[in-house]
Each structure stands twice: as structure tokens, then as C-alpha cells.
Amino acid sequence: MTRFQRWLRSMLPAIVVGVVFFGAWELAVRLFGIDEFLLPKPSSIWTALGQQWSGVEGGTLGTAPLREAGLNTAGIAASGLLAGVAMGAVMAFVFTHFARVGDALTPLAIALNAMPIVALAPIFNAWFGLTSNLSNQAVVLVVVFFPVFINTSKGLTQVHPDQLELMRSYGASPFTILRRVRIPNALPFFLTSLRIAAPLSVIAAIVAEYFGGPQSRLGPVITQNASFARYANAWAAIVVASAVGLGLFVLAVLAERLLMPWKRPEAI
């Protein structure tokens, strides 16, 4: 078997489940006569996706094409994700390496983490301006920051005591221990947090977009289509949003493959 055939074979169960799922959905909507505004058929969503993708056909709403809105939202999510991940990792390093700083700031971090962060979206709009991407990126950054920060901190500190004693028995300096033990030990924790953070970034971006800002984003496209009862269009935008989230998740998984060659093979 070629690599492709093997891959296809491993994907087969997922494909079957997908086909059955969408088939059942389509069938259920048709058989039970479910109203399109409650739940559109997959085929209607597919049609809407085609119509809305590059231009708005037959629409008087003036919502942005899905391709443009999707790219914009993906850009906000990805840039916010990158900034939040970088900041989470750096702060984890600072908090754990400089114990004084960590002890002083941890209560603040816990308090901030308990705050429902998307509630900040309107405030950020006021701070950074409605027309700027910055306010939405800031929401993504803050949402993504905590899982990365918390997991990476754990990885930097939860080193097996025997391993630390071993390093000390070699006369290793704290810096050597950081480089040779703490950082590689934290890598799996960091990469797990990346997998959590990637889809989260899209959620955060869209919710932030609901609170206003430029129109050519998936958030406003969804709210506008929904308020005019064009549910198939709204669902088409949701499909695009899911695809963006999935794409970022796959990138996170690829990063893991690349950075952790020692990893025991597992399903996802």
C-alpha cells in the first residue's frame, strides 16, 4: 500500500461517519418537514456557500463575500493566536524562572483568568477603536493567553524530582537545567495548550466581531444573515468559521509532529 492509500484507509471511518451524519441530517429535515429557519438542509447550506463564497448573488443585504470575511477573520484569529501563544509562553517562563515575580503576580493572573474575557470586547472596542483589527485581536490574545500560560508553567515546574537531583549531581547550573530539562519537559504541555488554543482563537475572534467593528468579518455576516432570516447563509458562514478553526488545529498538530519527534504515536 502506498502512503496515500494507508492514510485513506485510516480516514475511512471518519469519512463514513461524516457521510452518514450529513445524510441523516438531510433526510431528517426533508422527512419531518423541519422549517429551514430552524435547521436548513445540508444541501441548502452547500448552495448558499457556493453563492456567497466570492460575491453576493441575489442578495440585497450587502453582506461581505464569505471568502473575504473568512480570510479577514482567519487573519485576526491567527495573529491573535500567535501573539497570545508567544506571550503565554514568555510569561510562563518569567513567572517560573523568577520565583519572586511569579509569587507576586500569580494572584492577579488567577483573578484575570476568572474574568469572562469576551466581556472585554466592547471595552477593547473603546480602547483600540471600532475600525481597527486591534480590538478583536486583543480579545483573541487574552483568551488564548491563559491556557498556554498555565500549561507551559506546569511543564516548566513539574519536572520529576529525581531528574532535577540528577542534574544537580552533575553540578549543572540553573540555566543548564532550564535549557536541558525544563524547556524540553514543558514542550508537550505547551503543544497541548496550542491544540486547545487554536480553535479557541476562532471562537474568540467571532464573538468579538459580534460586538461591532468592520463588516467584512464572519461575525457580522452571521448576525446580519440571521437577523434577516437567511439562515442558510448564516450556516454557510459558520461552516467557513469551522473550517478556519479546523485549519488552525491541524497546524497545531503539525507543529507537534515537527517539534516532538520522540512522541509516542497516538490517534490525534
Binding site: 520529576h160 529525581d162 531528574q163 537531583e165 540528577l166 544537580r168 549531581s169 552533575y170 553540578g171 549543572a172 543548564t176 536541558r180 530539562v181 524540553p184 519537559n185 514542550l187 516532538m260 520522540w262 509516542r264
Partner: protein, 267 residues
């Protein structure tokens, strides 16, 4: 393997005098772990520490390793203060958990201390290959630790501890997590490795038969605070599989067992 009384300078591998260790002194959590320990280990000797759980065996080993500082008393390793011996890398260590680094292949795990000592890559490679040969795992340099059984991991840990040829090996229940058969096998291998490299060993164990099989001397510690309760000299000559059925071996095991019983009864 034998103690070396003919050592010209009369240097001991380990010289422990008047060691007391109290954790968290002066607080509510104060633990008096060791009290008045005097013990010497001659070069080439294999000494086991045995005693009830919590009596301070691991603490004593960490004191020798300078991973802990004594509350009072003095420890010399090859006639140097313990901190100096640590910096000079005069000893290697192995624990119950093999403590291999997941992200390093077996070869790179063994080479880690050499890397920290600034050896060149080719010298490191040669030494780790040699060590793997010695622990009878010649073909696994490119595997990751998770691909090894517990016994194999422990062998790699021993190879790592001895990779830079320290004169002293400190081991804390290294075979504690292994099954009986693997354990007995590893005991024999350990003896042949330390004989080949002429290494002095201080070995912590819970197993009476393990102590009797491996050691020249077995030090029985009393329950907390740990003191040297009795020292059992074991003279069994060359260890073979038959040693375990030797009446002398049983006699020594019984002697250790009785020392342990009397010390537990006394507390």
C-alpha cells in the same frame, strides 16, 4: 570487588563522621532523620543500607551526594568534602525511577553527563556505545526511552551513571520497581559491571536477599531517627547463580533479617 586495605594513602571512598540531619529545624514540621552516623566505605567496596521505611536511607545517600547538607557532622568522598566531590563528578547516581529524559534517545541519555562535561561528539558516541555494550544492550542507542521495558530503562540509567567513569556509584533502590526474575538478573549484571570498572557502590535497598547477594557489608539502620544499628559482613566470594542457594547466603540473610527484627522491636 574486595575492600582495599592496602590503599597507600589509606583514603576512604566515603568517610561519614558524626552526621545528624534534621529537616525543618525549629518548626512544627521538624523531622529528626539521622542521628550520629559514623560510617566508612573503602574503595572497591559494595555497601548496602537497609532499614525500615522512613529511617533515613535516602537522606543519607543524598547527604553523600551533596544534594542535602547535614545539620552537623562531616562527609568526605575520596578525601574531599562532599560538595567538592560533587563538583568534581566523583560519583554517579541511579534512582528507583530510571529518570531517563523522554526527549532524548537512549544514546543521548547516556551522553548527557558527558555533554555537560564538554566532551566532543565523537568521544561521547564512542563512550555511549561502549556503555551500552557493557549493560548488554548494544543495539538500542537510537530508541526512545518509552520503547524500552523497565529493566532495560534501568540498565540505561546505570550506563548513564557510569558513563563518565565515576569511582563511586550511589544507588537508591534501583531495582525496586522490577519483577523478581529481572531483578536477580540485574543484580548479577551490576556486580560484573562494577567489578569491571572497579567502582565503589553505596546501595539502598529494602530487600534482604538483594543486600546479602550484592554486598561486602550491609549496614542496618534503626527507625527514625536513623542510627547504625548493626553492620553485617558478608563474605561469599564470587557471586554466581548458585550463591543464592549457598547455606552461607541463607545464614547472612537470616542475620540481616534478625538485625532488622530486633531494631523494629526495639522501637
Amino acid at each position: 570487588m574486595n575492600a582495599n586495605p592496602a590503599d597507600p594513602a589509606g583514603t576512604q571512598a566515603v568517610a561519614i563522621s558524626g552526621i545528624h540531619k534534621t529537616f525543618n529545624e525549629g518548626t512544627d514540621d521538624e523531622v529528626h532523620a539521622l542521628e550520629g552516623i559514623d560510617l566508612t566505605v573503602a574503595p572497591g567496596e559494595f555497601v548496602s543500607l537497609i532499614g525500615p521505611s522512613g529511617c533515613g536511607k535516602s537522606t543519607l545517600l543524598r547527604l553523600i551526594a551533596d544534594l542535602l547538607q547535614p545539620t552537623s557532622g562531616h562527609i568526605e568522598v575520596f578525601a574531599k568534602p562532599a560538595p567538592q566531590a560533587r563538583v568534581d563528578r566523583d560519583y554517579g547516581m541511579a534512582f528507583q525511577t530510571a529518570g531517563l529524559f523522554d526527549w532524548r534517545k537512549v544514546g543521548a541519555n547516556i551522553e548527557l553527563p558527558l555533554e555537560l562535561m564538554g566532551w566532543s561528539a565523537s568521544k561521547r558516541r564512542a563512550r555511549s556505545a561502549e556503555m551500552l555494550e557493557l549493560v548488554k544492550l548494544p543495539d538500542i542507542a537510537n530508541r526512545y526511552p518509552w520503547q524500552l521495558s523497565g529493566g532495560m530503562q534501568q540498565r540505561v540509567a546505570i550506563a548513564r551513571a557510569l558513563s563518565f567513569r565515576p569511582r563511586l556509584l550511589l544507588m537508591d533502590e534501583p531495582f525496586g520497581a522490577l519483577d523478581e526474575m529481572t531483578r536477580e538478573h540485574m543484580q548479577k549484571e551490576l556486580l560484573s559491571i562494577v567489578a569491571e570498572l572497579d567502582t565503589t557502590v553505596v546501595f539502598v535497598t529494602h530487600s534482604i536477599s538483594e543486600a546479602a547477594f550484592l554486598s561486602n557489608r550491609v549496614v542496618v539502620l534503626s527507625p527514625r531517627p536513623g542510627r547504625v544499628h548493626r553492620v553485617v559482613n558478608v563474605t561469599l566470594g564470587e557471586r554466581t547463580e548458585d550463591t543464592r542457594e549457598d547455606p552461607e547466603f541463607f545464614k547472612k540473610a537470616t542475620e540481616i533479617r534478625e538485625a532488622l527484627r530486633s531494631v523494629e522491636a526495639a522501637s
